[in-house]
Every structure is written in structure tokens, then in C-alpha cells.
């Protein structure tokens, strides 16, 4: 005879109800939190991939934040480099006019203005750091206080020497230069300005009234130098642009990597809402069925027949 103890009957029902409840709670948690689990155990074998991917996301975000800062900085540098190029170009045109008119009037003032603009552009700073100072960004790269200062001292005393460009990491295993150094940008232009200023202060100076033949020749010589100095500034501006593009493209790669990573993480953590809805329904049915069975069993007793 197969017998069963009475205590087993409600106990079995209770176990079924508890199991159905647990499924309901888990389905409800998944549906509200929209994640498959909330601890390492819940993700089991996928926990390693998940933790690894999360670390990569954090690193990538760090690189992207550096790239964003760098991008802003390079835009400011581009404007400053443009101003420096304009200053040299304007000086060149003005001097060309002076030569054409054979007049020395205003040359000193023009040199002064070009010096000031170049100095101002190269001494641009962002949050107290000099953008064209390279690793020596705590001090202005153009040290000469005035055109006279520039003329009276060696060029190496007027421009900060020996600073390398700063480097920053914009993606894993890849660093880029944060820009160009003032000495590389304006040393030729400043040298021309310095020579003209020296000439102005020298025995064949100053530039005023009609230009002498020597003065005219000196200016014409420097016009050629200023042209190549202008080209140098432009090439440095182009280099700044190239670096900026490099940062941009690194940033783009980071973005797509981030998308891929987030996709992979989502694939592990996110629940399929349709699946959860079905699970929720199933859990509900299972609960109702277990409760129903209990209700039937509750009324099954010989006691009623013995009244």
C-alpha cells in the first residue's frame, strides 16, 4: 500500500507556493530593475566578462574626457596661431608698402605691434597654464617685455628654450602631443623682428622719413625671411590642426568602442522585457495553480464525512 502522511500534503503545497512566489519576486525584480541580477553570483560565468567590460568602459570614458579637454584647448590654440600668422602677414604687407613708398615712417610702430601681437598670442593661457609653453607651461614662453628688450638681448633669452610639447593619452596605448611650443612657432618671426629692431636702433637707423638704400635693402632681406616665418607659423597651425584631427578621430574610435562595450554589457545585464513579461505571467499562473491545489486539498478530509 502506498501511504502518505497528512503533514506532507500541505507541506508540498506550501513548497510549491513558495517556489512560485520566489519566481514571481525574481520576475518582478527583473522587470523593475531591468537587469538580470544584482550580484556576481547572479551573472555566474559572465561576471568576469562583465567586470572586465565595465573597467574598459571606465578607462574609455577617462580617455574621452581627456580628448574633450584637449579638443577645446586645440581650438583656442588654433585661434592664437591664426592671430600670430595674421600679425606676421600684416607686418609683411606693411613693410612691403613702406618699401614701395620708400618711406620709413611707422616701421618701428609696426614692428612693435607685430611683437605685441605675437607675444600676446604665444602667451595665451588657459586656467593659468601657458598653451604654447610645452612642459614649461608655468611661465610665459615669450619672456621679452618689449621690442627694445627683444632687440637688446639674445633671442634665446627672449623665448623660453628647450621645452618639449606636453603629451596626453587619448586612447589605450596611444599618446598625442597637446600642441606646439612657442619657440617652434615664432622663433623665425621674432628673429626677423629683432633684426629690424636692431637695425632701427643701430647706426643705419632709425627708420623714418625716406628710406635709405641700406634701409630698403635690409627691409627687403627681412621680407623674404618674414615670408618663410609666416610659412612656418602656418605649418605649425596645420600641425595643431592635424593633432586636433588625431584627437577627434581617437575620440570617434573611443565612442564606437564605448557603444560596442555598452552593447556587450547590455547583452549581459539587460533583461529581455518580453521574456520577463512572459516569466511574470508564468509565475503568476504557477502561484495561482499552487494556491488552487491547496484550496482543494484543504477541503479533502474524512472529518466532514464523519459528522
Amino acid at each position: 500500500m502506498t501511504r502518505i502522511s497528512s503533514a506532507q500534503i500541505p507541506a508540498a503545497s506550501l513548497a510549491d507556493i513558495a517556489k512560485a512566489q520566489q519566481q514571481l519576486v525574481e520576475a518582478a525584480r527583473q522587470s523593475s530593475a531591468q537587469t538580470k541580477a544584482d550580484d556576481l553570483k547572479g551573472y555566474g560565468r559572465e561576471a568576469q566578462t562583465l567586470v572586465s567590460a565595465e573597467r574598459l568602459v571606465a578607462r574609455t570614458n577617462g580617455f574621452m574626457s581627456t580628448a574633450r579637454e584637449l579638443d577645446t584647448r586645440m581650438q583656442i590654440q588654433d585661434v592664437a596661431l591664426g592671430r600670430a600668422a595674421d600679425a606676421v602677414s600684416t607686418l609683411k604687407e606693411d613693410l612691403f608698402q613702406n618699401v614701395g613708398l620708400e618711406s620709413g615712417e611707422g616701421i618701428r610702430a609696426r614692428l612693435d605691434e607685430a611683437f605685441s601681437v605675437l607675444k600676446d598670442a604665444m602667451n595665451s593661457n588657459l586656467g593659468g597654464r601657458y598653451l604654447f609653453g610645452g612642459v614649461l607651461n608655468d611661465r610665459p614662453p615669450v619672456k621679452a617685455a618689449s621690442l627694445t628688450d627683444l632687440a637688446n638681448n639674445p633671442l634665446s633669452d627672449s623665448l623660453e628654450q628647450g621645452a618639449d610639447p606636453q603629451v596626453m593619452r587619448v586612447e589605450e596605448g596611444r599618446t598625442v602631443q597637446a600642441g606646439v611650443v612657442a619657440d617652434d612657432v615664432i622663433s623665425d618671426a621674432m628673429a626677423s623682428i629683432k633684426r629690424l629692431a636692431e637695425f632701427d636702433q643701430g647706426p643705419n637707423g632709425p627708420f623714418s622719413g625716406d628710406l635709405t638704400a641700406t634701409q630698403k635693402q635690409a627691409i627687403q632681406d627681412e621680407l623674404a625671411n618674414l615670408s618663410s616665418a609666416f610659412d612656418k607659423i602656418l605649418s605649425q597651425q596645420a600641425e595643431n590642426g592635424r593633432l586636433s584631427k588625431e584627437v577627434d578621430s581617437a575620440n570617434d574610435r573611443q565612442k564606437s568602442q564605448l557603444d560596442a562595450l555598452n552593447g556587450a554589457i547590455g547583452g549581459i545585464t539587460n533583461v529581455d522585457l518580453a521574456e520577463v513579461a512572459v516569466k511574470l505571467n508564468q509565475a503568476q499562473y504557477a502561484y495561482q495553480a499552487s494556491a488552487g491545489v491547496f484550496n482543494v486539498l484543504r477541503n479533502m478530509s474524512l472529518l466532514d464525512a464523519l459528522k
Binding site: S6, A7, L50, R59, F63, G134, N137, M168, E172, L306
Partner: protein
């Protein structure tokens, strides 16, 4: 035959049915009592000299000893698996939600990112503070998590104590019932009440530990461990903590057998039940997690230190003080490659630059003056001191190298040669001596000592150390006291240890000077060190400190890691720049405030490959700190999941047996109600019989 005999027979039926009704009522009353074995009533015809006369009743417990034993076995398996799974579930919970950034692994990310951000503006005080504060948060989190895992072990230990107390009271109860059941059996009395109570106690005891139960001839039971140690007969054994300790973190458990006063180590005899689960959690699973976590924490700190030792503050500090490395002046240098030690002015320009060529054994300054040194740390230190001349000094004592410059407005910078870097046991020159560490711990974090067999071991003969040989479950099966012998070299120390551990384990030394204790016996899972009074030479480190022996020291590497005190107090000492010292002449600019390459190197440390040693359940590997973190997390998750499945499997076996046992022993109300009706009717019929006999008497009396 007499009318009186009819009345006697009727009376026996009344009594028998009354007893049967009592059994039914007891059964009904206990319908929901867990572990209750129902009473079965057997009616037996009473034999008298004249033939059959009346009825007798016998009431027996329907107890199936085989099913009970099977359930007890199942119960102890479930309890062991359940408690282990609970504790390991909580342990993996301590490592947090892997998709959340606030976990201990998530706290590591901002450290590297903020050093990347520092490279954008290395002189920024705000960025320095942010990087240090992120690092501090990470180190605190490591400490907290490690502390919480230790708390779980403490909890397992205190639960072991309370569970043993419960087991003791159950065993005493079973022994007491044995006495009373034996007395009742001898007196010929029913013992079913005592049996029921005893079975309840046995069921609970079997959840605590695996037991084997045997019927005693005079009633009651004899309880033994499943491997046969006597726990209960008429007296009971007492479980407790080992009263003698040799320095182990948690005491072993012992038993004082019935009628004995001797303590018998019990851990190897307990194979199931809550106690087993708790012991396995305390001595194996949680220890493994601690060791894995310790290796991760040490790896993270070591990676940060390796990068920071290549970096320099701007301006550089005038003094570099190394950590207690456990090395002696007499130790071989064992470096390859080149390093540069330079005195650099506060303006970032080289004042003096010394190139150390470990291959050639020379220190050459920027004026091409050469100082030679032999292959020992002490000799190198003396040579460096000579080379520095009036510009500085180098000392080496208590395992710590200190280099100082006396040049005004200048400091010291060390970088390894970029093409042929100085290396000892995989670490650069500055990193080996911890001259510019970022994270400090007080004791070595990396156990690759760089020592070789021919180095002097440096311990004093007669110093002692106690090895504890732990089995695969972490229980101590044997302790070995070791005394440092007369041999002076590490090779002779190794052969002495090998001799002491013969049959159980041996030492192994790799090319990086990592000296490990390897079990050679399949029954030995780990060789622990529970006491160590050795000190290496003038250092403050013991043999275990230096080689990372035992369970506690490697695990404790996750605790008490701090940012170096002077950097914490003065963030400008944070090495954010990197000096290109190779071939740099005096006057050359090598340090600049805007140079963030040092910070970049620290940022890259998170992804840099390094060697991780075997730790807990994770085998050694070469990988990055972040990947190791992922592997540790994955391992913890999978382990907890596996323990959960083991628990479910044990439960399904136990449930099946329990169902069968309940089906056979449990009370069915309908069955009892039918019996009740039957006995009620039989009782009524018997009383009618007596009434009939009485009527017969009346007839006879009327006839008189």
C-alpha cells in the same frame, strides 16, 4: 468455560481498544510534528490455558531505521552545503554588483582615470588632490572589503562555537534518554515516548554533523561519527575549541570522548553537517577569497608603485628613503641593465647625472668619472656614496636604502634606462628598494625577492618557525616546528626546511627569488605558517614576511595600504613628470612642471601586464590589474553559483529520502479517523458483550 471468562474477554477488548484509541489520539495530536514516527497498534489474541481468551494489544513506533539513517546522511550533506553556500553568497555579495561602479573594482577606475586627467595639467593642485583622493577611496575600499571578508570568517568561527554548544546539549540529551530507555526496557515498559524524543534529537544532531546511529541491545542508541568515533552511549562526548594554541588564527575543534579527559582533534573526523560547512567556509573557501583578494590588492599597489618609481615630482625631493625590503648588505645585487641617478636642480636642470651599469659594475657620472662596485648591495651602496662625494650620500641599513643630496635647491631623480632598464626580479632599481613608492603597506607586497640559493639566508641559527600542514579542507592535520640550522646559505635553509617537511611538502624557488612552500602529499592542501620568530639580519622582517608564507600575511596585503605619508601631506611630491636622464649632461632640462608623462605611466599601470602568483583558487598568471580584478570577480561569482548548485543537489537527495520516510512514518489523518471509528465500534461491541454476560448472570441468579 465460565460466564466470568466471557466477561474477562470483553474486558480485555475494552482495555485493548482504549489503548488503541490512545495511540490514535497521540498520532492525531502529532500529525504536524516534524520527525514524528506514528504509533501502530497490533491486536494479538490472548492465549490462556484453556485456549484463546481475549485480546492483547501491542503498540509500536513505525520507525524505519534505514530511511532515518539515509535522511540523516542527507540532512548533514544539505546542512554543510547550505551553510557554505550562504556564507560564500554573502562573501561574493561583498564584492558588489558587477554592473555598478561603486564596487571595489569600480573604485579602481577613477584612480587610473584621474592620473590620466592629471597629465593634462600636471601642476594643477586640484587634479593632484583629486587623484590622491580617488586613490585613498580605493585603498579604503580594499581595506573595508578585506575587513568584511575577515568578519565573515569571524562569524563562521563564532557559529562553530554556538553550533558545538548545541551539539553538546543534544548529545547529553540523547545520553540521558539512553539511560531512561534502558531502564524502561529492563522494567518491560513502553519506550515509544523516549524513542520519539530521541529521534528528534538525532535528526537535529545529524544536521550539525555527520553521525552514524546504532540501536543498543537494551534500548536507546549509540552515536558515532561517520568514521566511527564514539560520541554517545550512556555518556556523551563534549565538543569544544582546542585549549592549546600554537598561533593559528582560529583554533581547531576537539572532542573529549565519553568518560575521558583527553582532547581529540575533530576537524578531520567531521565530514558533513553545519559544522563541516562552517569549518570549510572558515578554513578554506573564505581563506581562498582572502588570498585572491590580497593578491589583487597587492598587485594594484605594486603596479602603481612600479610606475611611480619611474616618475618624479617637480621639483624633486632632496632625499629618497626606501622601504624595509628585507634585503641585507651582503645580498647579491642581481640587477641587470642600467639606471640613472641624478641630482636635478629645482629649475629642472641636471646638476649631476650618474649612470649605473649593473652589468659592468660601474657608476659613471656626467664628467665620465667611474666608480666600480662588486655584486653586492652593500658594495653598490658604498660605491654610490663615493660617487656622490660631497653632493650627497647613500646609506643602507635595516633593509632600507636611503639616498640624499646636499646640493642646495636640488633633489634626486631616478629613472631606469629606457633601452636596457635595470631589473631585479622583474622590478626596476627604484621600485626594488621602494625609493619612490606611492602606496605603502609596512611589509612587502611583492614576494619576488630577487634572492638566489647562494645568498646568505640571514636568519640566526636557533630562531624558530611553526609550519601547519592543512588538508584540502583547510584543517590543520599536523604542525612542524622548524629551527633555523647552522647552514648559512638560502640553499642550505631550503634543504633544512625540505627535511623538516619530508613527506608533506618542500620549498620551491623561481628565477625571481620567490620561495614558496609546495605540498608534495595529496592530502595536504596548503602549508601554513602559524608562528614565526625569525628576523632576517638587521631588517624587521621575518621569513614569512619576506617570502609571503602562510595564510595571514598574503591576505593582509589588502588591509592597511596607505598613500605614502609625505605625499599625502604634500601632494606636490606626487610624481607626475618623467626625467629623460639617459645621456643627459649637466645643465640639461629634464624636469618640467607641465610634463605629465609620469602621471600617464601611472594611468597606464592599470592595463600594464604584471605577474600574479598563485593565490587561493586562482592560478598564477601574467595579466593586468584590471583583468585580474575581472577574473577574481568571475571566480567568486562562479564559486558561489557552484556552491548554490551543490546545495540544491544535496537538497533534492535529502528531500526524496525525507518524503519516503514521511510517507512511511508520518500520520495520515484519514487513516487514523477510520481506525478511530473501528476501535470505537469494537469498544461498543465489547461493552455490549459484557452487558450480555451480565444478563446471563442475572438469568442464572433468577433461576436460583
Amino acid at each position: 468455560m465460565s460466564i466470568a471468562s466471557i466477561m474477562g474477554t470483553g474486558l480485555s477488548a475494552l482495555a485493548a481498544n482504549q489503548q488503541a484509541m490512545k495511540a490514535v489520539s497521540t498520532n492525531v495530536a502529532n500529525v504536524n510534528t516534524d520527525g514524528y514516527a506514528r504509533l501502530d497498534t497490533q491486536f494479538i489474541t490472548r492465549q490462556a490455558s484453556g485456549g484463546v481468551s481475549g485480546v492483547e494489544v501491542s503498540i509500536q513506533r513505525v520507525a524505519n531505521a534505514y530511511l532515518a539513517a539515509a535522511e540523516m546522511r542527507g540532512a548533514s550533506d544539505v546542512s554543510a552545503a547550505d551553510i557554505l553556500s550562504q556564507l560564500m553568497d554573502r562573501a561574493q555579495g561583498l564584492l558588489g554588483d558587477p554592473s555598478d561602479s561603486s564596487t571595489v573594482f569600480g573604485q579602481m577606475d577613477p584612480v587610473f582615470s584621474s592620473f590620466g586627467a592629471l597629465a593634462v595639467d600636471p601642476a594643477s593642485a586640484l587634479r593632484r588632490s583629486t587623484a590622491l583622493s580617488d586613490l585613498q577611496t580605493f585603498l579604503s575600499q580594499l581595506d573595508t572589503t578585506a575587513g568584511e571578508i575577515t568578519s565573515l570568517r569571524d562569524e563562521a568561527n563564532s557559529r562553530i562555537v554556538s553550533t558545538m554548544e548545541e551539539a553538546n546539549s543534544l548529545m547529553a540529551g540523547i545520553a540521558k534518554l539512553n539511560t531512561s530507555i534502558q531502564r524502561s526496557t529492563i522494567a518491560g515498559l513502553q519506550t515509544s515516548d523516549g524513542d520519539t524524543e530521541q529521534q528528534r534529537m538525532l535528526d537535529r544532531l545529524s544536521e550539525i554533523m555527520d553521525i552514524r546511529v546504532q540501536k543498543r541491545p537494551l534500548g536507546g542508541v549509540e552515536v558515532r561519527t561517520s568514521d566511527g568515533l564514539l560520541l554517545v552511549d550512556l555518556d556523551s562526548a563534549t565538543l569544544g575549541l582546542d585549549s592549546t594554541s600554537q598561533g593559528e588564527a582560529y583554533p581547531g575543534i576537539v572532542m573529549i570522548a565519553p568518560r575521558s579527559t583527553t582532547e581529540t582533534p575533530m576537524e578531520t573526523h567531521i565530514q558533513g553537517g553545519e559544522l563541516k560547512g562552517l569549518l570549510r567556509a572558515r578554513d578554506k573557501e573564505l581563506v581562498n577569497l582572502q588570498l585572491e583578494f590580497g593578491e589583487f590588492a597587492a598587485g594594484a599597489a605594486d603596479a602603481l608603485n612600479a610606475a611611480h618609481n619611474q616618475a618624479s615630482a617637480v621639483p624633486p625631493p632632496a632625499q629618497l628613503t626606501g622601504t624595509d625590503t628585507g634585503l641585507l648588505a651582503s645580498d647579491q645585487l642581481n640587477f641587470t641593465g642600467k639606471t640613472n641617478i641624478a641630482i636635478v636642480g629645482n629649475d629642472g636642470k641636471v646638476v649631476r647625472n650618474f649612470q649605473v651599469d649593473f652589468g659592468a659594475g660601474t657608476i659613471m657620472d656626467d664628467q665620465l668619472n667611474v666608480t666600480n662596485f662588486a655584486n653586492s648591495i652593500g658594495d653598490f651602496q658604498t660605491a654610490l656614496n663615493t660617487a656622490l662625494g660631497t653632493d650627497g650620500s647613500a646609506t643602507f641599513s635595516a633593509g632600507s636604502l636611503q639616498i640624499t643630496t646636499t646640493t642646495p635647491s636640488a633633489g634626486l631623480v631616478i629613472t631606469d634606462d629606457p633601452s636596457t632598464p635595470a631589473l631585479r626580479a622583474g622590478r626596476g632599481f627604484s621600485a626594488t628598494f621602494g625609493l619612490n613608492d606611492l602606496v605603502t603597506h609596512g611589509k612587502p607586497l611583492n614576494y619576488a625577492t630577487g634572492l638566489s640559493g647562494t645568498d646568505q639566508h640571514g636568519f640566526t641559527a636557533g630562531q624558530t618557525l611553526t609550519f601547519a600542514l592543512r588538508n584540502q579542507d583547510g584543517a590543520i592535520v599536523r604542525t612542524v616546528n622548524f629551527t633555523v640550522g647552522a647552514g648559512a646559505s638560502i640553499a642550505s635553509l631550503r634543504s633544512d626546511i625540505d627535511a623538516a617537511l619530508t613527506g608533506y611538502g618542500k620549498t620551491a624557488m623561481d628565477a625571481n627569488g620567490r620561495l614558496t612552500l609546495v605540498p608534495t602529499n595529496n592530502d595536504i592542501g596548503r602549508i601554513d605558517v602559524i608562528q614565526d620568530t625569525t628576523t632576517r639580519g638587521d631588517t624587521n622582517l621575518s621569513m614569512s614576511d619576506i617570502f609571503g608564507w602562510g595564510e595571514s600575511l598574503p591576505a593582509q596585503r589588502a588591509n592597511s595600504q596607505y598613500i605614502r605619508a609625505d605625499i599625502r601631506a604634500n601632494p606636490s611630491l606626487l610624481g607626475s613628470a618623467q626625467a629623460d636622464l639617459s645621456g643627459a649632461a649637466a645643465g640639461q632640462l629634464v624636469l618640467a612642471p607641465g610634463d605629465g608623462r609620469g602621471a600617464l605611466a601611472i594611468e597606464a599601470a592599470g592595463a600594464a601586464q604584471r605577474t600574479f602568483a598563485d593565490a587561493g583558487g586562482l592560478t598564477g598568471q601574467v595579466t593586468s590589474v584590471t583583468d585580474y580584478a575581472a577574473r577574481l570577480a568571475g571566480h567568486a561569482g562562479v564559486r558561489a553559483e557552484a556552491l548554490d548548485s551543490a546545495k540544491a543537489a544535496a537538497e533534492s537527495v535529502r528531500d526524496e529520502v525525507k518524503q519516503r520516510r514521511q510517507s512511511e512514518e508520518g500520520v495520515n489523518l484519514d487513516e487514523e479517523l477510520v481506525k478511530m471509528t473501528t476501535y470505537q465500534q469494537a469498544y461498543a461491541a465489547a461493552s455490549r458483550m459484557i452487558q450480555a454476560a451480565k444478563d446471563m448472570y442475572d438469568i442464572i441468579l433468577q433461576m436460583v
